[in-house]
Symmetry: C2
Subunit: 310 residues, 2 copies
């Protein structure tokens, strides 16, 4: 519980919530715009009122209406916050001259996870150019002159700063049509159906069935591909059931092109990592790493347009 005065400001979160709530004269709508819960906005406005000792909204019925001083304050705030944002944006833009980050990355991860979210980062950092190059095997960061790499596996990279993005969770999925055709709603039925395999990870399905108490030599039969993107297409085309990392099929799950066949996900012991050279102090590398991390935390695509918090 804090107080506020001439030399101490309420936190940015409070001010922004109030400004937004004032614009809409509605906590619910503000919550929507800010991607918070109505609960959060309600609390924050209340807290701000308490700190300032002033009534900003009058609660009338199931509605909130700005008081006169609330209206003035909101107007001032809108201007002040915009100025601040401008200052920050400008400082980011002139930070260094335009420079290029070279990024080594796995192909499917790039097209299905990174690129859909990338717009927000590039928007916020107009002076950073991106150059994506796909690599599948570990390589020497400095020799290849990559600034950053996305690595899948373990934290076993020499001379590198590694930050885990997330663990891999493999989910059994198929097209709705396939599910209905095969009645593949439980593991035993699923074991009979055609399975789609990734060549470099033949054991994935076996591991998943093991969790469900099924072991069968014939599980290895089915169709085999050497890239996730092919499996995704194959599954969408009802060629079989696939075991796919959640992160790569967000849009398909959302649109219903693919649906989960079970709730039990297979946690592999590998993870995605951001890698940069141990001695690198380039702040743009840090900014990118940091952004990746926050995007990974946020998880779903819903928020792709809204990186960052404060």
């Amino acid at each position: 519980m804090h107080s506020v005065g001439h030399h101490n400001l309420p936190s940015y979160a409070l001010l922004r919530s109030f400004e937004c709530a004032a614009r809409h004269e509605s906590f619910t709508q503000a919550a929507e715009e800010l991607h918070l819960t109505q609960s959060a906005v309600s609390r924050q406005v209340k807290e701000l009122e308490d700190m300032m000792g002033a009534t900003l909204f009058r609660r009338v019925g199931r509605r909130v209406v700005l008081t006169e001083s609330g209206r003035r304050f909101a107007a001032d705030l809108a201007v002040d916050l915009e100025n601040l944002r401008q200052s920050v944006a400008r400082a980011i833009a002139v930070g260094e001259r335009i420079s290029t980050l070279r990024i080594g990355i796995l192909p499917t991860f790039a097209s299905r996870w990174l690129i859909p979210r990338l717009a927000t980062f590039l928007n916020d950092h107009p002076n950073i150019e991106i150059r994506l190059e796909t690599r599948t095997l570990p390589f020497d960061l400095t020799r290849e002159r990559f600034d950053v790499a996305i690595h899948f596996g373990k934290a076993d990279w020499p001379d590198a700063r590694m930050t885990k993005l997330f663990d891999e969770e493999m989910l059994p999925v198929a097209s709705p049509r396939f599910r209905d055709m095969q009645m593949a709603t439980e593991p035993t039925r699923l074991a009979q159906a055609p399975l789609l395999h990734l060549i470099t990870r033949e054991s994935a399905w076996i591991d998943w069935f093991a969790i469900n108490g099924i072991s069968d030599r014939r599980l290895l039969s089915g169709r085999h591909f050497d890239q996730f993107s092919m499996i995704i297409s194959a599954a969408a085309a009802s060629l079989g059931a696939a075991l796919l990392p959640k992160y790569l099929i967000e849009s398909e799950l959302e649109s219903g092109i693919l649906i989960p066949l079970s709730d039990t996900a297979l946690k592999t012991h590998n993870s995605y990592f951001v890698v940069s050279a141990a001695g690198d102090v380039n702040p743009q590398v840090n900014a990118f790493t940091r952004w990746l991390l926050s995007a990974a935390r946020r998880g779903s695509m819903h928020w792709a347009r809204h990186d960052g918090r404060l």
Copy 2:
């Protein structure tokens, strides 16, 4: 770990730390001004740089020097933050017309704890007037028309919203001269020395000695007073050893007029509470309560000028 962009700002803490560090071109001095550790400022500046992907300071030797873009940014920030502060201050001031908070309070607590800190609250809320009236016994908030009361004891007030400020910790103290005269450096010696008692709490010394494994009928002898302020004066005048709440003798401890005779404090089972009427929605009451709470948390007087955080 978060990112920053056109619609999301770094937290106020980060910006303020940077602005201050930029003004001094020194993290240590900034830490001093902001009453933070050097560690905190260092981290915050680094975090800001990472979020923005720009180098704001160049680390040269044991010194930090603003980069060109850092300098620009700091200048912008100083203006923006000042504007924001102005807007907030104005909104607080015009919030309601000047009104008076009537506060019921214990006499020594008022003069020794509240009043020394009160300036900051009044400063931040120019539209609030204060009217302090001393009461020692519980009373009816609404009948007496108090807006707020400070209560000592237990949370047993009917129809009231009570917030605990802090527990009472009684510390054995005396003047340096008294300590030397009586060689009262350990409990056994102290038991022989003249003790100062508060009439409403005769058992305090007995309880304290009990903690230290000493029980003696004669402990009740000594000098008796009915207000803490008298005991404080008596102790300062070397009339005896006193068992006093820390909160009431901060300045004496700091200046060395009184010194602790032991490290073991006596925690009584009573506490200080802020009390306001259950149904009260006056935001100024909340603001005052909130401020009291933050002042209590901060503890020592050192920070009296710096209430609140963001």
